[in-house]
C-alpha cells in the first residue's frame, strides 16, 4: 500500500466515523405493523384499484376491531362507577344483539360516559316539563333520578349508543339539532319513540321501563314495518336521519316525508297539552290524521309494489294490511281530550288513490330538503 492509498483509506475511515448508523439502521429496519383484522375469505385473484376513493363521504362506520384504541370496553371501570351495574348490563346486551358495524357510536361513547344523579323537580316546575332523565351528546353525560333510575337509564343508554356530537350539531338516533342558524331541530318524536321501542324490545322484561312515549312508540312501530327492523335499527344506531328519509323516499315524496316528521314533532310537544283553544285542538287533530294517513298510505304503496312483482299474493296482501291497520288507533285520548284519527274515509281514500294510480313509482331523485344538514 503506497502513501496515496494510505491517505485514501484514512479519508474513508474518517468518513465512516461520521455516518449516522442509527439512522441507516432505522431506514433499513422492516416496517412494523399491527394487524387489527384479517378476513378468512379465500382470495384467489384480485385487482387492486389504487385510484379508487369513495365519493361525497358523510360518515364511515367501522367495526370495533378497527378502532381498538377507542373500543376496548373497560368493564371494571364501568362497573365500579355509580349506576355501573346497569351500564354493564346494557353494554353486554348491545354487543350481543347488534352487529358491530352499527356500534361505532356506542364504542366511541361508552368508556368516557358519565352517569350522574339529578333531581329534576325544580327544573320541571320552572320549565313546566316532565323530565325524568336526559342524555347530553355534547357532554356524553346521562342525568338520572338517583332514587328511581332503573325506569329511565336504559332509554338514556340507547341515546348514548346512537349519538354523535360533531361541529356543533347533535346527531342522535333519528334526531338532529343544533343552535347553529339554518339547521332545524328535526326528528325528536321519531327519536324518542324508537328509543323507547328499543328499550321495551330489549329491556321490556323489566316492568318499570315500559309505558312512556306511547304514541311515539306506536308511530315508530308502524314505521319499522315499512322500513324493516334490521334496517331501521341500523339507521338509528348510526344516527342516520338522512338515511331514514332516503329509505322512505322509495314509497313517498320528500314533501310528504318532511310533513310527516315535522307533524310528529308538533304532536310530541302539544298532544298532552291540557288547556286547548278549539283551533289548537283542530291543529292537533289535523296533524294526527296526516301522520296516520302517511303511515297507512306508505305501507299500502309498499304492499302494492310487492303485489305487482309477485312477491305477495292477494291473500297475503289483505292479511298484512289487516295486521297493520288493526292496532292503529281509531281514536286517541290524551288527558281530557279525545281525537278521532283514523276514519273509514281515510282508509277508503288511501286504498282508492293507490290502486287507481297508473304508476306508483315515486321520484327518488327529488332534491333533498334543504333543512336537513348535508355536510356531516
Amino acid at each position: 500500500m503506497d502513501h496515496k492509498e494510505k491517505l485514501e483509506l484514512n479519508d474513508i475511515l474518517i468518513q465512516l466515523e461520521q455516518i449516522d448508523y442509527i439512522s441507516i439502521i432505522r431506514m433499513l429496519s422492516p416496517i412494523i405493523f399491527i394487524t387489527y383484522y384479517t378476513t378468512s375469505k379465500v382470495i384467489d385473484r384480485y385487482e387492486l384499484h389504487k385510484d379508487f376513493k369513495p365519493k361525497n363521504i358523510s360518515r364511515v362506520s367501522l367495526p370495533p376491531e378497527l378502532i381498538q384504541e377507542y373500543s376496548s370496553i373497560d368493564i371494571e371501570k364501568l362497573a365500579s362507577q355509580r349506576f355501573g351495574e346497569a351500564v354493564v348490563e346494557f353494554a353486554k346486551l348491545i354487543i350481543t344483539k347488534f352487529p358491530s358495524k352499527d356500534l361505532t357510536n356506542f364504542y366511541n361513547n361508552l368508556n368516557e360516559l358519565k352517569v350522574v344523579p339529578k333531581k329534576f323537580g325544580l327544573q320541571n316546575f320552572v320549565m313546566k316539563t316532565n323530565i325524568a332523565a336526559n342524555y347530553s351528546s355534547k357532554n356524553n353525560q346521562i342525568q338520572v333520578d338517583g332514587d328511581n333510575y332503573t325506569s329511565t337509564i336504559y332509554h338514556e343508554l340507547f341515546h348514548m349508543a346512537s349519538s354523535v356530537y360533531k361541529d356543533g350539531v347533535r346527531y342522535s338516533g333519528f334526531r338532529q339539532s343544533s343552535l347553529k342558524p339554518g339547521i332545524a331541530d328535526l326528528g325528536k318524536a321519531l327519536n324518542e319513540g324508537y328509543t323507547q321501542l328499543l328499550t321495551e324490545r330489549y329491556f321490556g322484561y323489566k316492568e318499570e321501563v315500559r309505558g312512556t312515549y306511547k304514541f311515539e312508540v306506536h308511530i315508530t312501530n308502524k314505521l319499522e314495518k315499512i322500513v324493516g327492523q334490521e334496517k331501521m335499527e341500523s339507521l338509528y344506531l348510526n344516527a342516520n336521519l338522512l338515511g331514514l328519509i332516503s329509505e322512505l323516499k322509495g314509497y313517498a315524496s320528500e314533501d310528504e316525508i318532511m310533513k310527516f316528521i315535522s307533524g310528529t314533532d308538533f304532536l310530541i310537544e302539544h298532544l298532552n297539552d291540557k288547556r286547548l283553544f278549539p283551533f289548537e285542538k283542530e291543529m292537533i287533530t289535523s296533524s294526527l290524521k296526516n301522520v296516520i294517513e302517511f303511515l297507512f298510505r306508505t305501507y299500502i304503496v309498499k304492499l302494492k309494489r310487492q303485489l305487482d312483482i309477485g312477491a305477495l299474493d292477494m291473500n297475503k296482501f289483505i292479511n298484512n294490511l289487516a295486521t297493520f291497520i288493526w292496532p292503529l288507533e281509531i281514536s286517541l285520548k290524551c288527558g281530557k281530550h279525545r281525537y278521532e284519527i283514523l276514519t273509514l274515509e281515510i282508509l277508503h281514500e288511501s286504498l282508492r288513490t293507490i290502486f287507481d294510480a297508473p304508476d306508483l313509482t315515486v321520484n327518488a331523485s327529488e332534491t333533498t330538503n334543504e333543512y336537513i344538514l348535508k355536510d356531516r
Partner: protein
C-alpha cells in the same frame, strides 16, 4: 373462522354503501391506519376488485387515499399473505 366485517360508507345524501373488509392494519412507521376492502365485484378478467384507504379511528367522516408507493407495497404484502 373470523366473522365477516364490513365497512359502511354513507354519502351526503344518506345513501349507504357496504364493503367487505379484507384486512386492516396500522403501520408504526407512518402511524396511519389502513383498511383493505372489496365490493365483491369482479373485473372482466375475473379478479376480485379490491380497494384500500387510510382511515381514522377518531374521525368517522373521512377515508383518505394512500399516496406513497411504500404504503401500497405494504398493502400488497398483506394481500399476498392472505392469498397464500
Amino acid at each position: 373462522m373470523n366473522e365477516t366485517k364490513f365497512l359502511k360508507v354513507t354519502d351526503d345524501f344518506g345513501k349507504e354503501i357496504t364493503y367487505e373488509i379484507i384486512c386492516a392494519f396500522k403501520l408504526e412507521k407512518t402511524g396511519k391506519n389502513y383498511v383493505v376492502y372489496t365490493d365483491n365485484t369482479n373485473d372482466e378478467a375475473g379478479n376480485l376488485n379490491v380497494f384500500a384507504s387510510i382511515y381514522y379511528p377518531q374521525d368517522n367522516s373521512k377515508l383518505d387515499s394512500i399516496e406513497t408507493e411504500e404504503e401500497w407495497q405494504e398493502v400488497e404484502k398483506r394481500l399476498k399473505e392472505i392469498q397464500q
